[in-house]
Symmetry: C2
Subunit: 305 residues, 2 copies
């Protein structure tokens, strides 16, 4: 059933147009929220903008906007939250790329932040993006159902030491060690799924969604998030650095556990499809109105970079 | 007048008891808000708690509680904000101590975070403390005059790329270069004064203070913050590492501009006293009810560590 639903979705919804429009709105809003490159001290604002505008796919903001649309909300209300989540995602990449962590020289086809600005400024640029995320989020619209307090707690918890950061810690500590499939799932749930799930939930909250809708978005975001990371693992093995715009094969090199290394490539692909099917199933309460979310899940499953 | 007022304050208010009680309440609240050391992943929570409970003087929380008291507020309402500010202060120290920044091995008489947990975890522990600050702050009480939105914006702006982080960037970029007194003031305003000022303001906001009181606290926090850093500079030159519990003379070693290096030791002491007098003068609207704030300013001026 899920498969046929996916086919019908594809033909009815123009995802390319949605993504182009979503990216354009998010880029304009980020440009508006962030201090200009000339604002003193210029170095930090150049460094923040360098990574924020390095050609990211803006998948988390797209998820937030698609979730808002599914709940009948306006993009304008979801935008500050979409931008906040993108700032958090970018900060996490800047810090993860540091020599003390993944030690990566390239990201999205460009030298990583610390390669351009030095390690000290890269640490501070990450800190500043994380702080900026909360400043932007606090400027969102609040609703009777979802207050600023709820929004800030949502973001802080998804990004904190029990979720996003927990994933990075477990990832860091797991390098070179034997990792079980269960442990890998623990890492993926936190490192990737938490913030994708948060993005979908924030989109719903920006549209004053019902508790049933919020539960559906949580379920959807969780499964799409897990699928997203399984596919990331697959691409790391199957694609070249040029195709990815970042160092390919780095998981293998760093002796990091991945789905392909634990269960093999074919089983990994099957798991990604199953997770995407579960994501689809969770959209039932939207009764066909979550077209953008469906198309996004399909796109994320089939992406090649 | 300021001097005589300071003398009378000293005799009437038991600052030691206030600081002991404030520290006890803040430590208990931080312990309550932070995940335990056993919470998975244990490493990150151990690292966060290691620096948070490393014997800091809890000056920012004390300032918040003293400001709340001056406005007739309850300590319980100020506590989450006092804890949030302390988390931000601690994160900034953990990151500033990193090899890529100040490269410091000791802080408060103990090995710095990265010396114990490694650089990767130290970066993440700082990130987690910063994130935790917003999670804690969002749990504060809100008032008709000060919403959660106001509180979060207050903290994010004082800690962001235009204030706290700007100060650290300017400090980093100024090393080994000739710095003017004006540039040094720019650094101190951001690196130290911004968060101290924010602490005082948050204390007032937690007590639903009047706009006049908030303006007075802003003025007070600004001047106390500047005085605090001038004295820090003086102590770095005049005290031993043992007395300070951190590496003494490191500013000179790193060729960092300080008040003593630019205007000399005697003039620096005079500036610190003048700033403290200005802080006192700003408390006029409280009509003698800001005894804890007065005693704190006096204490900060005369401290030897």
């Amino acid at each position: 059933m899920a498969a046929s639903k996916r086919n019908s979705t594809k033909s009815n919804f123009n995802l390319d147009a949605f993504l182009a429009s979503s990216t354009e709105q998010v880029n304009a809003a980020l440009d508006h929220f962030l201090p200009s490159e000339k604002t003193k001290p210029a170095t930090i604002h150049k460094a923040m903008r360098y990574s924020l505008f390095a050609g990211g796919k803006r998948m988390r903001p797209a998820l937030a906007l698609a979730a808002a649309a599914a709940c009948g909300g306006r993009a304008a209300d979801a935008l500050p939250l979409a931008c906040a989540v993108e700032c958090i995602h970018t900060y996490s990449l800047v810090h993860d790329d540091l020599p003390a962590m993944d030690n990566d020289d390239f990201r999205r086809g460009k030298p990583t932040n610390h390669k351009v600005f030095g390690e000290g400024i890269a640490v501070l640029a990450g800190d500043a993006l994380l702080t900026q995320a909360f400043e932007i989020a606090a400027q969102c619209r609040s609703w009777p159902r979802y207050s600023h307090r709820d929004i800030i707690l949502e973001i802080a918890r998804a990004s904190g030491s029990l979720q996003l950061i927990a994933g990075q810690v477990a990832d860091l500590e797991g390098e070179g060690k034997k990792t079980s499939a269960a442990q890998l799932k623990y890492i993926h749930e936190r490192k990737t799924s938490a913030l994708l799930c948060c993005s979908a939930r924030l989109g719903g909250m920006s549209a004053n969604c019902s508790p049933t809708q919020l539960a559906a978005l949580t379920d959807f975001g969780y499964h799409v998030g897990l699928a997203f990371q399984v596919i990331d693992d697959i691409l790391d093995v199957t694609q070249t650095s040029e195709q990815l715009g970042k160092t390919a094969g780095k998981d293998t090199k760093a002796q990091k556990a991945t789905y392909p290394s634990i269960v093999g490539l074919e089983k990994s692909r099957k798991i990604a499809t199953e997770l995407t099917n579960k994501a689809f199933a969770s959209l039932k309460p939207f009764k066909g109105k979550a077209v953008a979310l469906e198309a996004l899940a399909e796109f994320l499953l089939k992406r090649d970079r």
